[in-house]
Point group: C2
Chain length 331, copies 2
């Protein structure tokens, strides 16, 4: 198995990327795996003492967070991200990973790695936390598209179901449609039509409409949404969880000695909450609908997040999840 890694994408690149990859390389699961690191050899090489299982493809061109996504992917043909995606297209690697510019990763997935035949609009799918258990739920599309048709949302439901079952091991995953109410006739025309498509699909365990108030409680294993709403929901979860942690920290640190002592004693509980909302243990966001696994992790990823993304990619390649999509959508 070969994984093409953009070593230059993300806030802590190449250090966090290389360290995460090395951590994976040293784990038993990865004895069958070669990691191809795309990036500046002068920066990457000093980070690697034992080069076993690692290949470096030198390039100095980089797509930054400020680059206009589609244009930069077209023009910076020697960028680490583009070359990594190209390696997958050329069948030199089985999967593509980057922590870089989200829009550019999406463009690399869609235009370089390419869409699966029969899939009109790939969707970006993170795994989010559920507070009731440790399974989490998948949310898609979380923002690969600014607008969607019902048929796209139907594709998301099918791909999300496959992923939840195959990669996350959820039996007969519950599929929910994110809507502005639980009744069947809720939402705009797109969501009303999507409801019917999902309800009438015998392959899906459709549980109906779900509201954003209940998704963190695990109301569905796969939450299907248009890319605009999904993006807003993803960012609202991040923003609200972040705001609450900041607020809690401020309150604990600026409320006198008694509270500070209390905070020190109950530290473990805060760590538990923080760990629950740290979704990097689920891996990165997958761009589902591409010809190979395309995984994008957060720009702020540390080596632990990169390591978990490698585990996730390994599982997708090992289980041949994308081939299952292809077979299903070729029908």
């Amino acid at each position: 198995m070969k994984i093409a890694v953009d070593a230059m994408g993300g806030d802590h690149a190449p250090k966090a990327i290389v360290e995460g990859v090395l951590r994976a390389r040293d784990a038993t699961e990865f004895r069958d795996t070669t990691f191809i690191l795309f990036g500046d050899e002068a920066q990457i090489k000093p980070l690697i003492s034992d080069g076993h299982g690692i290949e470096i493809r030198h390039t100095t061109e980089v797509i930054t967070g400020e680059d206009e996504p589609v244009r930069s992917v077209r023009r910076k043909k020697q960028a680490s991200m583009v070359l990594a995606a190209q390696a997958v297209k050329d069948h030199e690697a089985d999967a593509f990973f980057s922590c870089g510019n989200t829009g550019a990763v999406l463009a690399c997935g869609i235009f370089v790695v390419g869409r699966i035949k029969g899939i009109e609009r790939p969707g970006l799918m993170p795994t989010m936390p559920t507070i009731t258990n440790d399974a989490g739920f998948n949310l898609l599309d979380a923002g690969a598209n600014a607008s969607n048709k019902p048929e796209h949302l139907h594709e998301y439901a099918k791909m999300g179901a496959f992923y939840a079952e195959d990669v996350r091991g959820v039996q007969n995953p519950k599929i929910g449609l994110l809507n502005n109410g639980t009744e069947y006739d809720k939402g705009d025309d797109v969501h009303k039509a999507t409801y019917q498509l999902l309800k009438d699909d015998p392959d899906l365990n459709f549980v109906g409409n779900v509201e954003a108030t209940t998704i963190l409680q695990g109301s569905a294993d796969v939450v299907v949404t248009d890319g605009f709403t999904g993006n807003a929901v993803l960012k609202t979860i991040e923003g609200t969880a972040g705001a609450m942690m900041t607020l809690l920290k401020d309150n604990l640190m600026h409320s006198g000695t008694k509270v500070k002592i209390g905070a020190a004693l109950s530290k473990q509980a805060f760590k538990g909450v923080k760990a629950k909302f740290d979704t990097s243990r689920y891996g990165g966001a997958v761009l589902l609908g591409c010809n190979a696994p395309v995984v994008k992790s957060h720009g702020a990823s540390d080596n632990r997040a990169v390591y978990y993304a490698m585990l996730q990619i390994h599982e997708m390649v090992r289980k041949d999840t994308v081939t299952k999509f292809k077979d299903y959508f070729a029908k």
Copy 2:
């Protein structure tokens, strides 16, 4: 001033409603105010010892949470909610308040109280918390509509700006458009077109696109959104804040004695966080664009929430906010 109150709407009606109204009645600001309570006299009267400033209009018909909104408003003509709205229409009262079925309150606002001439789609607007200060921000439309045109979002921006300045006292309020990125060309066609309308309006202090990650940090005083996305964002904030508080409580209570002692000592800090996310101090959600103040508070409202909604309504009537809307949109 007369405020028409649906005394039977909400989980704790009529008790919480009547208690909140009495609390307001006894405050100095409300010496000019009569509260007209619509509902079952047999249930309401025993809750009131001093009837000064209170009128009761007896009715036994009630719209429940399970009723289909528009149909129930049309058919249950003697329901407490419908009669309260009707009193505003008939100029017997200056404002309408309910904690009942949200869809039915919207229908009462739009079809009974009526739209302002020139406003195509009234929008539902709660005030949400900001962690950086105590001002909060307005979000609209939070779900009165399942889909919107750019012109509707432009109306929301104008109405939200008026409200923030007039009722909340925010000088030259910052108007942000909720979008899936901050660049001017982000979003679907509706949001791209809205961006131009807001940018070109000299009356608005438009700060551009804002993302859901930053709205709780106060990136704008008024966050303009289509009703579908706004509804999802509102529910995601509620769901995430609720999930985190539950999780924190569980972790504090089930992690051994040391943590429990710590939790007891630092209680004050948790209360601070909880208070910040308890938005009832801002009042209820206003259905902006109606001929009079229409305010809907949470179904779970306690008497405190009702009291704050009365303060908010009093402020809107006193400052004649709706007349300002009318004058502006008549131009």
